[in-house]
Symmetry: C2
Subunit: 585 residues, 2 copies
């Protein structure tokens, strides 16, 4: 694809997956890493690698001599030497030494981003213990003390619980090159990968949700189960963050963010100038992986499509545990049976506790199926490692029930998913009519929302709701209305989504007024009308609509129809036994 040889500083799992992506395009890679058979070197046999530390000046010089482009899989590299080879012009360095240096020092990184107008948690430099104490007084407790340099996977962070804890934290972190950060009240941690070409052109991946445990990323869900419009905000923040970096910032960047508890504010936590753990899901779930896009970016090739190609995906890290390699292998072997799962093992020699040994990606046709599949694997991880994980018991009770409807434990999970169906009605007086729809959607495990939207009393709200619905992630809207019953038709005129209309029976005309108003739409704008007051059927139609493209819900509908048959058969049996005289309805 390209004759230029890429040299990578660092040969761990990120380097390994970069080599994999490069090899697929027949692009040669040389790896600089002190470990003889490091993960990245194991899968590249074309050019000899260099078995030296990536902080070694001589080794960087040697790598530069034999490559056309240098890049990194880790930011804790020798930036001075990178800058030297970059200036010498014998090799391109992407991202540039200056960019890596800026991001390497988390305090400088924050200063830079704040100056560019990005929203960050409050922070302050702490060169002395007194400054650390002052930070506690300003930010309150708990607050976080952090090392400016060399921190990763939670190392280099200290949560200061109270005034008496400041000194301990200050000492644990080495007492120099520190800064303090105010605790952010966030509801979720989000992350977005952004790839940037030397020209500055960027492409942004979907927003994912990361679940941390002991400061190490445990799980990633894609897309994040948040409102689609908040996803757009987070994508914009991530895009702005990477776009504002200095000239020379090319390659892939991971942007970690907090979703504030107000549900709309997105703050930047930190950036990584390389592939990122939160982007591993892109190998199986996106059109172009973060690794291939990094290779494309540093070679200045057109960027690949960053969109999801599956409806839902998750990434589960496989860490070294108390039982050594069996902590790692047992869950991987067990996950071979889980449909949609792919195991990645990095080929590391030693399974130290907490070490990232591999990961498992899971793809699914829906958030519901993803949750079921992920629970199976997380349960197996819990069995294999320390047994502490609380999701194990949860998983055991969360097995999908056999009658096509979800169990109580699953209902809780589904309620936290982004809604696929919106149920709206003109007035709270319609709620008794519309409640059966909600109950059925809950029974089918379809995430939904229910609210009041009145065509005549809140026309602005109706416009806003209908226009945003498909951007927010809804796939169908159920609208109940009585009398003039304009809501379903007006909403249908404002959204490209299917709108299901429920005619609500009023005090006169038996609901025929609403029925005709809803069903007799002009050519061009359809409303899927169901029977008067029959919101059950509206919900069932919504399940069929989603099921048309999603086997999980199609199967559930087939099961529901079979259950109806069985229900009638039981009545037939009872009628036969009791006879028509004594049969009680």
């Amino acid at each position: 694809m390209d004759k230029q040889v890429i040299g990578i500083l660092g040969g761990g799992q990120l380097g390994r997956m970069l080599v994999e992506a490069a090899s697929r395009m027949n692009i040669q890679v040389r790896v600089l890493d002190p470990t003889l058979k490091s993960p990245a070197k194991q899968i590249s046999n074309f050019t000899p690698h260099i078995d030296q530390p990536f902080t070694s000046s001589d080794a960087i010089q040697e790598l530069a001599q034999e490559c056309d482009i240098l890049t990194v899989e880790i930011e804790h590299v020798n930036c001075d030497e990178l800058a030297t080879v970059e200036k010498s012009g014998i090799v391109k360095v992407r991202p540039s030494a200056d960019t890596i240096r800026l991001i390497q020092d988390k305090y400088l990184q924050k200063e830079y981003l704040a100056k560019q107008g990005l929203l960050l948690p409050e922070y302050i430099k702490c060169d002395t213990l007194d400054e650390a104490k002052a930070a506690g007084q300003e930010f309150g407790y708990p607050f976080v003390l952090k090392c400016r340099l060399g921190a990763y996977d939670g190392r280099g962070n200290y949560v200061v619980k109270n005034q008496d804890d400041v000194e301990a934290g200050f000492k644990v972190l080495g007492g120099k090159m520190l800064y303090a950060e105010k605790f952010v009240s966030f509801t979720k941690e989000l992350a977005v990968m952004v790839v940037r070409r030397p020209s500055g052109q960027v492409a942004t991946y979907p927003v994912v949700e990361t679940v941390q445990r002991d400061n190490i990323c445990e799980l990633v869900y894609a897309p994040a189960q948040i409102d689609g419009q908040v996803r757009e905000i987070a994508m914009k923040v991530a895009t702005d963050t990477v776009s504002c970096l200095p000239v020379g910032s090319s390659g892939i960047f991971g942007v970690e963010m907090f979703l504030h508890e107000d549900g709309r504010t997105v703050l930047v936590n930190e950036i990584a100038p390389r592939p990122h753990n939160s982007g591993h899901y892109t190998i199986e779930a996106c059109n172009t992986s973060q690794f291939e896009n990094h290779i494309r970016a540093v070679l200045d090739l057109p960027l690949g499509d960053t969109g999801l190609k599956v409806p839902a995906a998750a990434m589960i890290n496989v860490l070294g545990g108390a039982n050594g390699f069996s902590s790692v292998l047992d869950p991987c072997l067990a996950s071979l049976d889980v449909p949609g799962s792919t195991v990645h093992l990095y080929g590391k020699a030693d399974a130290k506790v907490g070490r990232k040994m591999g990961h498992i990606t899971v793809v699914a046709d829906s958030a519901l199926q993803l949750s079921r599949r992920t629970d199976l694997i997380v349960g197996k991880l819990a069995n294999a490692s320390d047994g502490e994980r609380s999701r194990l018991e949860y998983r055991q009770s969360a097995k999908p029930s056999t009658n096509g409807s979800v169990c109580d434990e699953e209902k809780r999970d589904v309620a936290a998913m982004s809604p696929l169906v919106g149920i709206i009605m003109g007035s709270d007086s319609d709620l008794p009519t519309m409640r059966p729809a909600a109950k059925l959607l809950e029974q089918f495990g379809v995430p939904f929302e229910l609210t009041i939207v009145s065509a005549h009393r809140t026309p602005d709200r109706m416009f806003e709701y209908a226009r945003a619905a498909h951007k927010r992630g809804l796939k169908a809207i159920i609208a109940g209305a009585g009398g003039a019953a304009h809501l379903p038709g007006m909403v249908a005129a404002l959204t490209p989504l299917p709108v299901i209309g429920v005619p609500v029976k009023g005090r006169c005309l038996d609901g025929v007024d609403s029925l005709h108003s809803i069903v007799q739409m002009p050519r061009g704008v359809p409303v899927a009308t169901v029977a008067i007051n029959n919101s059950d059927n509206a919900a069932l139609l919504a399940v069929r609509i989603i099921g048309a493209s999603c086997p999980t819900y199609l199967d559930a509908m087939a099961q529901y129809m079979d259950d109806m048959r069985v229900g009638v058969e039981k009545k037939i049996e009872r009628l036969g036994i009791s006879g028509w005289k004594d049969y009680e309805i």
Copy 2:
């Protein structure tokens, strides 16, 4: 994942992709191939490889000594030596030497499969020129003369045009170890990958359609654009074919088939006991690739999920052309811009004409999007190579039009796709009412079918149609009915798909009879009812239903709605210019 080392006979692109899959699971592979830096060896740096022919007895012995399992990426290997090491017990051979030997000789293969009751094109052994002439008399012309051994990519086949051509063909093919095959009148060539564990358990991939050019596979479409029930037949034929192979037949198998012009009969063409070109799409499009499943099968690990994870995929072979490497690189570089495409280059040193140098996979949200994306790449391939390919001109005219509807050239393509919507009506007298629905679906590029299904006159047909609809690949059914209008509701009671009901106006009651009969369904079975005689809205609702999960159609609907606005604005302008007195409707 597994400590056993796998030895592969052959180190070309199939070996390379096997190594890629194995490395991902941290499984070590040794490659036996005469080429020093063959494609497979380039990406495996852990164990030393063997630079010897895979027909060499010594080399096979050496490989067997250092591996736990031997497998092949090509069937033209030294089966005697494989049988020897297998019998010695020092190594497992998967698939077994006997299986490879059976498949290696295409005549023996056919004899075996025919004995197992599988349907094949007629064939006959031709050891002499007289036998070849007799074959011509029996089968008629044209018929095909084939080598029993060593044939691949169309080499070893000769199409005998007439009686005078027999001798030429016989000589070209070497005049021994030949057989003759009757020409099959087929409409499509299909292929299915099937993976089999040592226990005999199998898992079957989706049915794909292969497009050959000069006997070399040019394009693969997944899933095949044929009726879903015919796909099930083809999957069963492929499953039966691999299941009936002798004990010891483990690993992945490619089954090539013909779809007879009767549209329902599927004949087995031939099998490959290894990964197959028609299965490359599985890397990006299926939950587990053919390569990973081969590795799993030979290690006797649980088989991975063979299902598609994207709605549609294509694979385009990149062959060496008249312009050498630029024939290969130009289309690859150009395809980087096409969303959903992934380039694989095999790292071969020499770009001989017709040599498989790489492939490009394309995934899409629909067959329509796939066709647009594939056309872009095939057009570029045509530019880069010999310029002969006829799809180039086609592609240039096939650009999606900007107003959300498909152009005339695309309509032809869409008509050949598997239908997503079924339009049915009780009587041909309903056709004038239902025709607008068909026109709109055509305009949106939604593949559909239209037929007569009467609830009262053809109840059996109705049951059959409705029950099979989702298995056949439909995503929605539009049913038009007048008077008692039972069709939509009865169909809805038999399918889990969304059913859209169009009340057809009869001679009395203004269609209100049909409207009430269609919309007033009992709880449990919904019909999405639209306005009386308004089949346009039924089609638009079907587009919205498909669009709910498919951005291509959602975008087209948004465009359609915007076009309606523009249309009205033009009328407003005209009304303003002409005034209300002179305005002509």
